[in-house]
């Protein structure tokens, strides 16, 4: 004799299949979470001691990236401007702006400004700005339209997946050296063709860009 009413059949069938879909769905959710800004911090604006606007300085004042990020062409670290760099102008203009008080304080007390890192790779991933900039990877390729960012944020997920996408097919992102710092550069229609030329011109060893040593030591 049965312990359960016939309706149990339906319920059990539903629950069996439901379970399958649920499991699948769960996996999908996990998959999405690890690509979401929640994990990658992409598009998340970081609080900063001074609400520095790249938009204003780059677009409005037309400053070049290298004016502040001095070592970007020479070192793996692009460089964050020293307080005195800020003060070169701000000792003249906006001298009393309360917004800039942290900068002046830093200069006065000889205490560095502590910026919050926006692009923070894991400690075991070694990224080198110099080589990218010198081989024709534009700033905007990774950092997005910085000139349109009133407040700084990370534009790309910067996952290994994302890095590899370009290391596997650099031709899709390369641009002429002279345009590396050009904010308004748009890929031409024949980007792929251009990219392939640049690869030859720049002697980029595409076959080796995915070697582990490139990023991990």
């Amino acid at each position: 004799m049965q312990v359960f009413p016939p309706s149990t059949n339906t319920i059990s069938r539903v629950s069996i299949f439901g379970a399958l879909f649920f499991a699948g769905g769960l996996l999908f959710v996990v998959y999405m979470i690890f690509r979401s800004p929640y994990v990658t911090q992409a598009h998340v604006v970081q609080e900063q001691p001074v609400p520095f606007s790249h938009e204003h300085h780059v677009t409005a004042l037309g400053l070049d990236c290298r004016y502040c990020h001095t070592s970007v062409e020479k070192s793996r670290f692009a460089g964050i401007p020293a307080t005195e760099t800020c003060m070169t102008c701000h000792s003249q203009i906006w001298v009393n702006s309360p917004m800039l008080e942290p900068v002046r304080r830093s200069m006065r007390n000889n205490e560095p400004i502590r910026w919050n890192r926006v692009h923070d790779l894991p400690d075991y991933a070694y990224f080198d700005h110099a080589i990218h900039v010198n081989k024709g990877v534009g700033c905007t390729s990774c950092h997005g339209q910085v000139d349109k960012m009133p407040l700084m944020r990370k534009e790309e997920p910067m996952t290994m997946e994302w890095c590899l996408a370009c290391h596997r097919q650099p031709e899709r992102h390369l641009r002429p050296i002279e345009d590396v710092f050009n904010m308004d550069w748009v890929p031409p229609k024949d980007q792929l063709a251009l990219g392939r030329d640049l690869i030859k011109k720049q002697h980029i060893p595409v076959d080796r860009l995915t070697n582990c040593y490139v990023c991990h030591r």
Binding site: V3, F4, T159, M160
Partner: protein, 481 residues
């Protein structure tokens, strides 16, 4: 009606079911073990011990997760120790179940009937224990999922050339299929339990698990098909799992690992140890629960025969290793063999030959094959021997491979032993529970056996003694629900 059962007797033990059994007697006797018979002190004592050991296992796992695998005895150059030894040992034990259920089923070996159920259970529990080791031996177990191919933000696959990756698939598949096979086989019995259970909650649980089994013809038909299909699927796994496990070694360059004979002789070894473990469990079980009628001398003898065969294959494997070493005239191979026989671990090797090759030879004699106590002792000897085999392969080979400057000894540490005994505890804990909650012998299949025996004995003393009772029984089964 239980009263009417003839007392268990070793006599005429060459049938696979002692005469005088009816559907009812079979059902009663088997279901009684789980449902009606009271908890005996010995069961409780046994379970408590096993449970305590399981707790020790958990302690060990915690300690290792907190401190690191450095707690184990491993060091350079012996980077694998008890962890892998025990892994292979358990997996090996886990072999008999599927072999008995699937292969013997396909070969219509009806004597399998009374032992397949708990052989399968044993398989599952053994695989569970085995599964713990590869996980816990990792330096960073929390990244075990990197061995699985899943879409990830690193856009990386596992390294397919590595046998360890094949292991993941082989073992998990084996575990899944064995579980399914076992469960499907259980369904009719679960229904019986559902119907016989007195306790309301038990009824519920058995009911859910029975998936509304009513024993209708169509049920039986589908049940058969599914069971046969699963048997078909499971059969290749019997070979594949240990083949893959053997490749963990065969694919390496280490002298003593790098041998083509490994796959076949690992599989044989696995069956060897598997059947040994079945005997180790079956013999006490049949005595303890008076199942001599169901697990007769015939069963034991058949298993003994299988032991003899696989034992000889294993022996052949050892011989081949030695032969290759000599024939290859390869420095390292030859040294490896010399080292096994005369090196610091010579005693393990000697003992291994004694246990796996020499001891089993007594089974050439029928008297030995039918001497229950001897079989029991022998089965344990073989279990030990097979553990030593893995120890010799893993440790002796690694301790002295290519660069003498890097040679070093290995011995299990305190934590290695707690982990090992811990898993044994887990194994028996599960087994004890299994005995109390599920039919240790497939009731449904025993019934068929009853039917068949009756035909064979063509209306002998019991056969038609109480026809109506039999009919009731049939009705009962057919009409349950």
């Amino acid at each position: 009606m239980a009263s009417e059962h003839p007392e268990p007797q070793e006599a005429n033990g060459h049938a696979i079911l002692a005469p005088g059994h009816t559907y009812a007697s079979v059902t009663d006797k088997i279901s009684a073990i789980a449902l009606t018979s009271p908890y005996r002190r010995s069961w409780i004592v046994g379970f408590v011990i096993a449970f305590a050991l399981t707790m020790m296992l958990l302690t060990t796992i915690t300690a290792v997760l907190v401190e690191g695998v450095g707690l184990f005895g491993i060091r350079r150059p012996v980077m694998w120790g008890f962890d892998i030894v025990n892994f292979v040992w358990w997996i090996g034990i886990g072999h008999a179940g599927t072999l008995i259920s699937a292969v013997l089923l396909l070969f219509k070996q009806e004597w399998r009937t009374s032992i397949n159920r708990f052989a399968e259970a044993m398989t599952l529990f053994a695989v569970a224990c085995a599964g713990l080791y590869p996980l816990m031996h990792m330096g960073r177990p929390w990244y075990f999922y990197w061995l699985l191919p899943y879409p990830n933000t690193m856009s990386l696959w596992p390294q397919w050339r590595s046998p360890l990756v094949w292991d993941v698939f082989a073992v998990s598949t084996y575990a899944t299929v064995s579980l399914l096979f076992w469960y499907v086989g259980l369904i009719p019995d679960l229904a019986t339990f559902r119907d016989r259970a007195k306790n309301r909650y038990a009824k519920w649980i058995y009911g859910i698990l029975a998936m509304g089994w009513r024993g209708s013809a169509i049920h039986w038909h589908r049940y058969r098909t599914a069971y046969m299909l699963l048997a078909g699927i499971a059969t290749p796994l019997v070979v594949s799992v240990h083949t893959v496990v053997s490749l963990d070694f065969a694919a390496g360059v280490v002298p003593g690992w790098h041998t083509t004979v490994f796959p076949p002789y690992f599989v044989a070894g696995a069956i060897y140890s598997g059947f040994a473990m079945v005997l180790t469990l079956a013999i006490p079980l049949r005595v303890y629960y008076g199942l001599q009628d169901f697990i007769t001398l015939k069963h034991l003898e058949n298993m003994a025969k299988i032991l003899l065969v696989t034992g000889l294959i294993v022996t052949y494997g050892y011989a081949l290793e030695a032969f290759f070493a000599w024939y290859s005239s390869n420095t390292y191979e030859q040294f490896m063999m010399k080292n096994r026989a005369t090196g610091p671990y010579w005693h393990t090797y000697a003992l291994l030959i004694l246990c796996n090759c020499t001891a089993v030879q007594v089974l050439w004699f029928k008297r030995a094959r039918t001497c229950v106590p001897l079989l029991f002792v022998l089965s344990i000897i073989i279990n030990i021997g097979m553990w030593l085999e893995r120890y010799v392969i893993v440790v002796t080979s690694l301790a002295r491979d290519f660069v003498p400057a890097a040679w070093n000894l290995y011995h299990g540490s305190f934590w290695d032993y707690t982990m090992y005994y811990g898993t044994i505890g887990l194994f028996f804990a599960l087994l004890f529970i299994f005995i109390r909650v599920l039919p240790v012998i497939s009731i449904a299949e025993m019934r068929e056996l009853v039917a068949e025996t009756r035909e064979r004995h063509g209306g002998d003393e019991h056969g038609h003694a109480h026809p109506d009772e039999d009919d009731d029984e049939l009705d009962l089964v057919a009409s349950s629900g």
